[in-house]
């Protein structure tokens, strides 16, 4: 039954005899339509009313472009930083037993729960030029708060749990014997990590990156406190949308939102394709 020739094209795979396929698929589609698809298409609809020339003018506006650059750039940098440190945190939590491990494990989820504005204010007071950390960094000429660097710091805080929570279960699953096998074959610890363990974790790390990145792009609450919100320097796209809304310029707001939507969708799609490819290879 499953041996249909490859050129048969798209078709439903015959579901198993266990019932539920129709019901669950129908529910999923209805749910996705109500919650995600209709609001998003409303967004596209509104910005389409703008007409192509006006849309293009808003999209190519230097302030818009700069804001998008800052939003996506900082989100990518923060996600990349989180991938490194989040993986290390996950590794430590899984592999080692030490006093306070459970507490640290629980703490990782705090950025999920904390109102983002609270996080933003806390980080700002720490990293402001007079703050605890900011005052140490200032003599070195590093300005964190009220600069794009501040945005990155806020996004690292927000995105950390995504990486830790996606990578952690995969590290738990690592077969100890695989590491032992590498060691008996003469691989050093470093070689074992880079050549054996890391490739196994890569799909989970990519997922963690995607989640942290997506969260970072849309983040608003924490960033506006620490960023300083200087147009062209540290103004993020979500803030620009809010500014346009406050100016009753709904068309411009939806246009920027649509561009963000499209960019995010393309990036997440690419990440998903990379994952599908790696899963196919490693089974």
């Amino acid at each position: 039954m499953n041996t249909a020739p490859a050129d048969a094209g798209w078709r439903f795979r015959v579901p198993s005899v266990i019932p539920g396929f129709g019901l669950t698929l129908g529910f999923s589609l209805a749910y996705l339509t109500l919650i995600i698809l209709i609001p998003l298409s409303g967004l596209v609809w509104r910005s389409a009313a703008l007409g192509w020339t006006d849309f293009w003018a808003i999209a190519m506006d230097r302030r818009t472009v700069k804001a998008l650059e800052i939003s996506f750039g900082t989100a990518i940098i923060a996600a990349a930083v989180n991938v490194v440190f989040g993986t290390i945190v996950a590794w430590v939590l899984v592999r080692y037993r030490f006093p306070g491990r459970r507490i640290i494990d629980a703490m990782v989820d705090l950025p999920f729960a904390l109102p983002t504005a609270v996080a933003g204010i806390a980080l700002t007071s720490l990293y402001a030029p007079r703050g605890w950390i900011g005052s140490l960094l200032e003599p070195l000429g590093i300005k964190v708060a009220y600069s794009p660097l501040g945005i990155v710091v806020a996004l690292i805080f927000i995105g950390l749990p995504f990486v830790v929570r996606t990578v952690q279960p995969i590290i738990e699953e690592i077969d100890k014997e695989v590491e032992e096998a590498a060691a008996t074959l003469g691989a050093s610890r470093f070689q074992t990590i880079t050549r054996v363990l890391f490739p196994g974790l890569a799909p989970a790390i990519v997922t963690g990156f995607a989640l942290a990145f997506a969260r970072g792009v849309g983040e608003y609450g924490s960033v506006i406190f620490i960023a300083g919100n200087l147009p062209y320097v540290s103004e993020i796209a979500p803030l620009l949308i809010v500014i346009r809304l406050e100016e009753y310029d709904y068309a411009a707001a939806t246009a920027i939102a649509t561009i963000m939507l499209a960019l995010s969708f393309v990036m997440l799609l690419v990440i998903n394709l990379i994952q599908a490819w790696s899963r196919k290879r490693y089974g």
Partner: protein, 347 residues
């Protein structure tokens, strides 16, 4: 390479897994560590590999004390029960891994590694599969790849931890014969762990029977089967029946009656008689034998297993009869073990 395990003790959290174990493994030998789970056989294997460090004692590779060498330096080939293949690497990359991670000076060129991987795949009869991923192979094929990977580094010793444990019976039997062939062709000193006595007896030059962290007996298949040196080995290897007896005046007694077996050297007292259920002599009359009523009779493959109840304490014992034997129809059977052993009762 000779391997010598000298008075090794291993504790895990103060709980001893091995008590003072010593073992000499001769170069080129195929040796089996056989025992029930928890007997310490895998611990012993891992100690030889360097995956564990002994609490006391030492392990020598040839004349060199290897116990404080790292795993990487020991150059052993280790095959795991669940293969432990690197699933993101092709079969060829898996096999070549040990060569690829060598430091620059001793690392063969890429072409050479690839060639070696192909040769090993031929040896383990998987030619043509070098570009597959482990997920695309069957269990038996994966274990062959794991063996090829272990042999690629030209190990001093090949260590296999329940290599066929995760495979089904058919594949198991096939791989067993194949492992023997590979061993004969390559001549690696090989140690494998198993809890399957059939596997150990059929495959190994010598069998090391272990129980509760101790070596009970070391010998060829014939030695451990025909002359077990402890009640444990008697019970663990092959089928056995046991009967509590009394020794008096060089005779074996059951319920105040001699059963026609003499033990001139044994001291008087309680003891246990061990014999193989199939190795018995059936008797008609009974002056000096074990006689009992048949309480159960079961057909097992080519023989019939008969359970007898005898004596005042209603003890039971099992013997094996040929299927066609008339005695199986009777309600009373008398027999005497042909080959047997007496172990004094432990205090």
């Amino acid at each position: 390479m000779d391997v010598r395990v000298a008075n090794v003790r291993k504790e895990f959290d103060r709980f001893p897994a091995l008590h003072d174990v010593s073992l000499d493994i001769r170069s080129g030998e195929l040796i089996a560590l056989l025992g029930p789970s928890g007997s310490g056989k895998t611990t012993l294997l891992r100690l030889i590999a360097g995956l564990e460090t002994p609490t006391r004692g030492a392990i020598y590779f040839g004349d060199e004390d290897a116990s404080h060498r790292t795993i990487q330096e020991r150059n052993v080939g280790f095959v795991f029960q669940h293969y432990a293949l690197f699933r993101h690497m092709t079969v060829a990359d898996n096999i070549g891994f040990g060569l690829k991670v060598r430091p620059g000076a001793t690392r063969p060129p890429k072409v050479e590694i690839r060639k070696r991987a192909r040769e090993l795949l031929d040896l383990v009869q998987l030619s043509g599969l070098e570009d597959r991923y482990p997920a695309q192979l069957s269990g038996g094929q994966r274990q062959r790849v794991a063996l090829a990977r272990a042999m690629a580094i030209e190990p001093k010793v090949l260590l296999l931890d329940e290599p066929f444990g995760a495979l089904d019976a058919q594949v198991r039997r096939e791989l067993r014969r194949w492992l023997r062939d590979i061993h004969d062709a390559t001549g690696h000193t090989t140690v494998f762990v198993t809890h399957d006595q059939e596997e150990a007896l059929e495959l190994a030059d010598r069998v090391v029977v272990m129980s509760q962290g101790r070596i009970e007996q070391v010998g060829t298949a014939d030695e451990v089967y025909d002359t077990p040196n402890s009640p444990f080995v008697y019970g663990f290897i092959g089928d056995s029946s046991s009967v509590p007896v009394k020794i008096e005046a060089g005779q074996v007694w059951i319920d105040e009656r001699p059963i026609g077996l003499s033990v001139p050297a044994a001291s008087n007292g309680d003891a246990t008689l061990y014999f193989r259920p199939h190795d018995v002599e059936l008797l008609d009359g009974c002056s000096g034998c074990i006689a009992g009523t048949v309480v159960a009779s079961r057909r097992v493959a080519g023989t019939r297993r008969v359970e007898l109840e005898f004596g005042g304490h209603q003890q039971r014992v099992e013997i094996e009869l040929p299927v066609e034997h008339p005695a199986a129809q009777k309600s009373r059977v008398a027999f005497r073990p042909r080959r047997w052993k007496i172990f004094p009762q432990e205090a």
